[in-house]
Amino acid sequence: MFGGLREKLQAARNRLGSSIQEAIVTQAPPAPETHKGGPSASSASQKSISSAAPTFADKVKILIIDRELVVSEKDLSEALSELEMTLLESDVALTVTDAIIAHVRTNLVGKHRKIGASVDALVVGALKSALLEVLGNGFDLINYIKTHNRPVKILFTGVNGTGKTTTVAKIGSYLKKQGYTVVIGAGDTYRAGAIEQIGVHAGRIGIKIIQHQEGADPSAVLFDAVQYAVSHKIDVVLADTAGRFHTKSNLMSQLEKIRRVMKPDLVVYVDEAVAGNDAVVRAAEFDRTVGADAVVLTKADMDSRGGAAISIAHTIGKPLMFLGTGQGYEDIIPFDPVQVVEELLGSDA
């Protein structure tokens, strides 16, 4: 997962590195003649750059250690536009890409910098700080449950077909394995087959489910689920809801009513990792109308480049909790921003 983005970012980073080096070379004493092994020619990761025998790049690095470096906008513009392409091709929304590029630019351009480390580190540092700033901290669900009163009530929301129901089942299974008791509320009473779907999941993972008839008031179902948890001393209530678009005000006010009635501790917004620019629009609308405390991104197994994670986190500033990585119950991993950024950029730089 995120492999594509990592590769591309590394290529872009190498470019950025090389364009800074070019800028330096023009200020530095005449460069050695062999340009072949230079960083722009090698598409390998920074590992091979740092571990290989001294290359042109290394020599340049040595030359510039402790030298003052001024990077101009012009030096970077081409490399930055390549980075921009990379982010866009990885599904980072246009607005968010603009913000990241601006961040990297202000970090690199026009500043007099003492270069004590490698040029690589300079670029990686700017990118990393940009991405980490965007991704924020993850969300530790287990820790949250440990530190809150039972039952912990979690409401799942999102647009149609993103994977809410499957995620409820996965998280139910995950929590059960961690030793917690769980009840699921079948809050999608609208879509054909929805109650049967969540019912089969609950049966397979051995979790109690509270359900009403198709067409029933979802608030009532979820209220019952909470009541059941209270009277049976269940640790966690997972409330599934019907998918809905943020543009449908009647459905959004239904969700608002659900929230008033079941009083969730956490509202978890579920979207898919393959979503493009709309991820930003709908996350913002859901956050604005019914709130969102954490985000789950599903379908990360679809060769996704992970841009939606960056887009959503940047837009609503809410932590990512899990990544869905398949259709099995075990296909869910807690989201760790540092790990993701290191996977994107490599951890050794």
Binding site: F245, A275, N277
Partner: protein, 441 residues
């Protein structure tokens, strides 16, 4: 954000509005804004770059048509380039057929299956559905509930785990029906076993159509996913779902570019009735974030003035492809031909049904085809032999069959006009008709 985008696109267009000489810098600026608009609508980044390159080249190289300003010129090129991409004949025939639904998890296949069943049922066909999804919990409940609402037979068995076996049994059970739609489980490009499964389902069903269902919000992955599906089962149409949200459907554009197919239907809601035939103008306006693209384009088309149509020549029996081009242009702006004819004081004049049968998509296509004809051919369609037909088709990204179809339509129009003259509708009325045809309100 999108508002800002489309505003900047409009600003860039405005800069071109007064100009009658092409200004390189202004075109570059417009192209850049165009790129941003398309990218933020999720069109594949590489595709956007290719598109904008050819828009730029054409805008700078092609001669400004007489009487148009630069804005109109560029806008027309933008529009043509986009239409070229989304358009491929996706005629939905009301004949016995099998339709195989394919797509990523949660894209809307099952819901769309029910919508299609309803669509064809309303057209008077005997429709059945096979639920070949043996994986998703509740899949059979979902589709059978939907089918029950519209009284469409649905074959399936939630206990059966073999999709191929189910499909075979379903085909046998529903063999007396005219149209069978096969709903399948969601899958993606990296799931080799599932790709293999749908290849086999396609073999078993000998599907007439293999439609790829794409969520309007799908981002850059659309190209790669579509490519893999296309490799597997030769996708011949794309359906965009969830267009009632705020997503722009650029991923679907990438998918049609990848599969060289067209957009067949649009899903615009959760209920069975929320299915629409694809209409390029609205879609392109939405992609560009410019709600009023059509209005803008209409103004551009006004360049072709009513008096440019040589009414007198036509009255004398000279009706060339060029005249038809103008007519189509005008018609595109005026709405369905039937409606226009209804406004005319023509009494009980009978026109062959075929005249009405040109959809706006078709008209756009016909215009593109005519764009790649020489002026000699436009003046004298008789010149168009089969080798010319080949060339024209290639130039328009079309097929010789379609060029032939266009000629056939032209001949029909010609005959119709002759008929009108013969019917002695009176000169006054004829001229009015011609004027109507040629672009007045």
């Amino acid at each position: 954000m999108l508002d800002t985008l489309s505003t900047s696109l409009k600003d860039a267009l405005k800069k071109l509005a007064g100009k009658t000489v092409i200004d390189r810098a202004a075109v570059d600026e417009l192209v850049k804004d165009l790129q941003r608009a398309l990218i933020s609508s999720d069109v594949n980044v590489k595709l956007v770059m290719e598109l904008s390159k050819s828009i730029r080249t054409r805008s700078l190289d092609e001669q400004l048509p007489k009487g148009t300003n630069v804005r109109e010129h560029v806008l027309r090129i933008v529009y043509q380039e986009l239409v070229r991409l989304v358009w491929v004949s996706t005629d939905v025939k009301l004949e016995p057929q099998t339709i195989l639904m394919a797509g990523l998890q949660g894209s809307g296949k099952t819901t769309t299956t029910a919508k299609l069943a309803r669509y064809f049922q309303k057209k008077g066909m005997k429709v059945g559905v096979i639920c070949a999804d043996t994986f998703r919990p509740g899949a059979y409940d979902q589709i059978s509930t939907l089918c029950a609402k519209i009284n469409v037979p649905c074959f399936g068995n939630p206990l059966e785990k073999n999709a191929l076996k189910l499909t075979r049994e379903g085909l046998e059970t529903l063999k007396d029906l005219e149209l069978v739609i096969v709903d399948t489980q969601g899958r993606h490009a990296l799931e080799a076993d599932l790709i293999r499964e749908i290849i086999e389902i396609n073999v078993i069903t000998k599907a007439t159509h293999r439609w790829l269902v794409i969520d309007a919000a799908l981002g850059q992955q659309a190209s790669e996913q579509a490519r893999r599906f296309h490799e597997a089962i030769d996708i011949d149409g794309v359906i965009i779902t969830k267009m009632d949200g705020t997503a722009k459907g650029g991923g679907a554009l990438s998918a049609v570019a990848e599969t060289k197919s067209g957009i067949v239907f649009i899903g615009s809601g959760e209920t069975i009735e929320d299915l629409e035939r694809f209409e390029p103008d609205g879609f392109i306006s939405r992609l560009l974030g410019m709600g009023d693209l059509k209005a803008l384009l209409e103004r551009a088309n006004e360049a072709i003035k009513a008096d440019e149509v040589d009414v007198n020549a036509m009255m004398k029996g000279k009706f060339t492809l060029r005249d038809m081009y103008k007519q189509l242009e005008a018609l595109n702006k005026m709405g369905p031909l039937k409606q226009i004819m209804g406004m005319l004081p023509m009494g009980n004049m009978e026109l062959p049904d075929g005249v009405y049968d040109v959809t706006s998509t078709k008209m756009v296509r016909y215009r593109i085809i005519m764009d790649s004809m020489t002026s000699g051919e436009l003046d004298d369609p008789a010149l168009i032999n089969s080798s010319r037909m080949q060339r024209i088709a290639r130039g328009a990204g079309s097929t010789p069959d379609e060029v032939r179809e266009l000629i056939k339509y032209y001949k029909m129009m010609q005959r119709t006009l002759k008929g009108l003259r013969g019917a002695g509708g009176g000169k006054f009325n004829m001229q009015r008709l011609m004027k109507r045809f040629s672009g007045m309100q």
